[in-house]
Symmetry: C2
DNA sequence: TTTATTTGCGCAATCGTTGTCGGTAACGTT
DNA sequence: AACGTTACCGACAACGATTGCGCAAATAAA
């Protein structure tokens, strides 16, 4: 059973294809009786408009592109979950691209998305991306909404977690539990989220009369075996840090592993808090304090914005930034400092 | 800058569209010199064939559909990672659908996929799915490869983990560490993976002269708060279980939480092993023994099979089953039984 | 009755690409 | 000189849907 087309209906009813098309779109210039016949026949033949033909015709492809650095990542898989949910609800399909954190693959992904004539793009920038010419080029064809890793050079709506507030809360919490030398392990310095978190961290320090010490802050793209050496470096400082604040899932887990490997007691020797979406955070040893980002909601919100632009044809979209609240979860890894020697 | 089309090249060179088309496809009936000109012009205009037009023409859409119950799931996000990687390498885009474990959304997803004229389908069945008519229907249009949750009623290649061996190894390991009353928490009984794991569990028991006790086996779709009561039920048995073997990520974590909440010592009172893809398994408290499935490899293998069928046009694909080895990771949660009272 | 106007529908172009067919030279063969 | 080959290229239709335009018939207004 092949998919029914307008032509099939037209043949069946001995009318022209154009009449069928108009009847289905409820055009005023079609006889109500004819409409009824066409509708009936369409449901009988289980007619569905061919999205490919529609795309070619140039109207809309009913498909969205999602470009993220990685799928196999707690944060992004949750975000995509939210995106797919809302998109599907509103009749759009989602095409996924991974950049694996490279600029090159990001460009390739955009090219693909363009070729597919997607109606819009949701993107979280790769860590290599520092220019946005490729995105501006894309923007001339379809609207973009950025989420999580966003660039301010690009005029689009942005949906992000409240990174400043989250980092501020985490840092302040560490200070209130008696920590004074707080190391911050974070990702590439040019990313918006890195800067915002760093700013929050710094603001909390200064609000609490602690000096900002840049030797305590480390940036990087930390592979599986790169966190250990870094932790060693930090621990060699005088005085050594008494707390670690990490900026991603990978870093939190890597740091936890490194600290445990080095037989440091958490939180007795150092405390640890992460910016993560680990659902198992409270099952870790020790239970990991975290700043949780509403990843699913960020996905939902981002795609909702995008679809509003697409459907209301607000081409000149308000490049507003939506900030979603983060939540501080205090667990064992940041208990009060043990002051007994 | 709009995307260049054949027409643009044709106009530029004052030749016909068909000639351009053939020149680019390196047809024998085009003058080498003309070909050169066309090629040069094509690269200059940055021409890319329009996949939409190609799809409409009926040849191939260069897109694959992936249908999974959930994206935000350690196992599936890793599998999709593998799928996307290989697909992208071989020039195919991936369209993702989530069924949220419902038959209805699975049918809807297949309909969408069909409308998009995808060249093939990778599917892991929803837990509600018991009939495969919708898949057979789909099969008449494009090839299917099943992975993980597969149905034997459907003649397609299948790529799965070695569930029997994995479950056997886990169970045997529990027995060798002194356990005798091994509970098995698993998912819906009609799923292939459930049955295979159950069979492996049972075989290991019987090989070791332990009776299979069906009151120790529980099936279900365990929501966030459903694991607790179940654990209570099992612990009320006489004698109570001294080990838990769970069949999924969610169950392993849920069970761990429930046991800890009830102040049972792991592994002193009970030991616990999961069938999971948790990357943080050895960071949990206690470090969780697991049977690890090669999710990424399963994804890679499945998509490779599918693309082979698509490209070699082996429509009558060998419905072979590829079994990928699992790995037993012994950690703290299944240490030797403590025999001191 | 003649002229407007409305109603209802079909024709044909369009989107980008490919396949079928046919045509025109230039050449070689008798 | 007449014919067949070969090499090369263009016109056209088709995929499925939308849309501007035109055309006929029916109705309304003159």
């Amino acid at each position: 059973m092949e998919a029914a087309t307008l032509k099939d209906i037209a043949r069946e009813l001995n009318i022209s294809v154009s009449t069928v098309s108009r009847a289905l779109r409820d055009s005023y210039e079609i006889n109500p009786e004819t409409k009824r016949l066409v509708m009936e026949c369409a449901t009988r033949l289980n007619y569905r408009p061919n999205p490919i033909a529609l795309s070619l015709k140039g109207s809309s492809s009913k498909a969205l592109a999602v470009v993220v650095p990685q799928i196999a990542n707690y944060y992004f898989s949750q975000a995509i979950n939210g995106i797919e949910e809302v998109a599907q609800q509103r009749g759009y399909d989602v095409i996924i691209f991974q950049t694996h954190e490279t600029y090159e693959r990001e460009v390739a992904a955009l090219r693909q998305a363009l070729a597919r004539r997607v109606d819009g793009l949701l993107i979280s920038l790769s860590s290599e991306t520092s220019t946005v010419a490729h995105l501006q080029e894309f923007q001339q064809h379809a609207p973009i909404v950025q989420f999580d890793r966003v660039s301010s050079q690009l005029a689009t709506p942005r949906v992000v977690a409240d990174n400043f507030a989250g980092a501020y809360a985490a840092t302040e919490h560490l200070i209130k539990t008696g920590r004074r030398r707080i190391a911050h392990l974070t990702i590439q310095p040019w990313l918006s989220i890195t800067q915002e978190r760093l700013a929050g961290y710094r603001a909390a320090l200064e609000q609490n009369c602690l000096a900002y010490d840049e030797t305590l802050v480390r940036f990087g793209t930390f592979g599986p075996n790169e966190v250990g050496p870094l932790v060693d470096e930090l621990l060699a400082l005088q005085p050594p840090p008494d707390a670690f604040f990490t900026a991603s899932d990978r870093l939190a887990v890597g740091c936890l592993a490194a600290l445990r490997q080095r037989r440091l007691r958490i939180p007795a020797d150092v405390s640890l808090i992460g910016f993560t979406n680990l659902t198992v955070a409270d099952m870790l040893a020790p239970a990991l304090s975290t700043v949780e980002q509403p990843a699913t909601d960020i996905g939902r919100e981002a795609v909702a914005r995008l679809l509003d632009i697409i459907e209301r044809k607000h081409r000149a979209a308000p490049p507003a930034t939506v900030t979603m609240p983060t939540a501080l979860h205090v667990r064992e890894s940041t208990s009060l400092m043990d002051l007994t020697p």
